[in-house]
């Protein structure tokens, strides 16, 4: 558990620094036409350190809510296709280049 938290600290610190870097700002502008907003990563790093030092419930909840928002952001668009519950049955079917298959 302690290891995971140190790991999360490293990640949010890295993400904040990466967010602010010239390379990222350039690519964000190139992709979205705006500068990136890095405030959330800064908050996350702060909360991560807070949790590490004092195990405050508020810090933990803030972190969880931030991560859940990030995941929700990704999922807010209506999907174009339906997801499979199993991989395609014919994925490993042997190739038969001589005979045409019926559709």
């Amino acid at each position: 558990h302690g290891d995971t938290n140190i790991h999360n600290n490293i990640i949010s610190k890295f993400e904040f620094r990466h967010c602010k870097s010239f390379g990222n700002i350039f690519h964000h502008y190139y992709t979205h036409g705006t500068a990136p907003s890095c405030q959330q990563w800064k908050e996350d790093y702060k909360n991560c350190r807070e949790w590490e030092k004092h195990q405050g419930i508020e810090a933990k909840e803030a972190l969880q809510s931030s991560e859940m928002n990030r995941v929700a952001e990704q999922r807010k668009f209506t999907p174009v296709w339906t997801m499979r519950s199993n991989p395609p049955e014919d994925w490993n079917m042997p190739l038969n280049q001589e005979t045409p298959r019926d559709s």
């Binding site: 190139y30 859940m68 339906t82 997801m83 199993n86 991989p87």
Partner: protein
């Protein structure tokens, strides 16, 4: 190989070796008269060293569609300037050995086609009948494979900065659709517009748009740690 699909305007004419190879596979003639060997070597290198390709290979394995080089990847001669394709009917990625001559190009094509394969694996993609599905996968592939990076576009002499990435993704997706399906440009543009927001923002399995090998390496690391990450949530 499905004959009806061959005749039906699904772009198979760009990949003549899908129905009949010119030289027998593995023959000396193939080695002497085609770029098959070079293609195989570059492909192997791409699979082992490109962080984009490695992440996609892991993701596919986790999704139950492990990629076996000999079964799912094929180096063939193709028509025109096409670099590669994904044949859903046979679950194979085609690499155009006569049109890919640089390792960096191979890396991008492998990534691009693996994204199609990944979509095929995780979703019910109706490649042949649903243009929205095709457009969506093409948007994702152009977006996430590095096809539209600043340096790639600059190399094509398409200099653009503000939001140029999106323009590039739209135009390359359009081009890919028009190459393999018989529809009008206007119709294709309309379809791309309809699905653009959803598909441009679908970063799976990368989690972010990788703009460089470094980004892709970090996306790979995030992907490897995702179980631990989701457990923490």
């Amino acid at each position: 190989m499905d004959q009806t699909k061959q005749e039906g305007g699904y772009g198979y004419d760009l990949f003549p070796e899908r129905s009949k190879r010119k030289y027998k596979e593995g023959s000396i003639a193939e080695r002497l008269f085609t770029f098959n060997n070079k293609c195989q070597v570059m492909l192997q290198f791409a699979m082992e060293t490109s962080p984009y390709a490695k992440l996609l290979l892991s993701a596919m394995k986790s999704s139950g569609c492990k990629i076996l080089k000999d079964r799912h990847l094929s180096c063939e001669d193709c028509d025109g300037t096409v670099s590669g394709g994904f044949d859903a009917a046979s679950s194979q990625i085609v690499l155009c050995q006569n049109n890919i001559h640089q390792q960096s190009h191979m890396n991008r094509v492998v990534t691009h086609e693996l994204i199609h394969a990944f979509d095929h694996c995780r979703a019910h993609v109706d490649w042949f009948n649903n243009f929205r599905h095709l457009a969506c996968s093409e948007i994702r592939a152009a977006n996430l494979s590095g096809d539209c990076s600043f340096s790639q576009e600059a190399a094509r002499l398409n200099f653009g900065l503000k939001q140029h990435h999106q323009e590039c993704v739209r135009s390359r997706a359009l081009r890919s659709i028009l190459a393999v399906r018989k529809i009008s440009r206007e119709e294709a543009e309309k379809i791309v517009d309809e699905v653009f927001d959803t598909c441009f923002n679908d970063y799976a399995p990368f989690g972010r748009i990788p703009h460089s090998n470094r980004d892709a390496k970090f996306a790979n690391r995030d992907y490897e740690n995702r179980d631990r990450y989701y457990a923490n949530l």
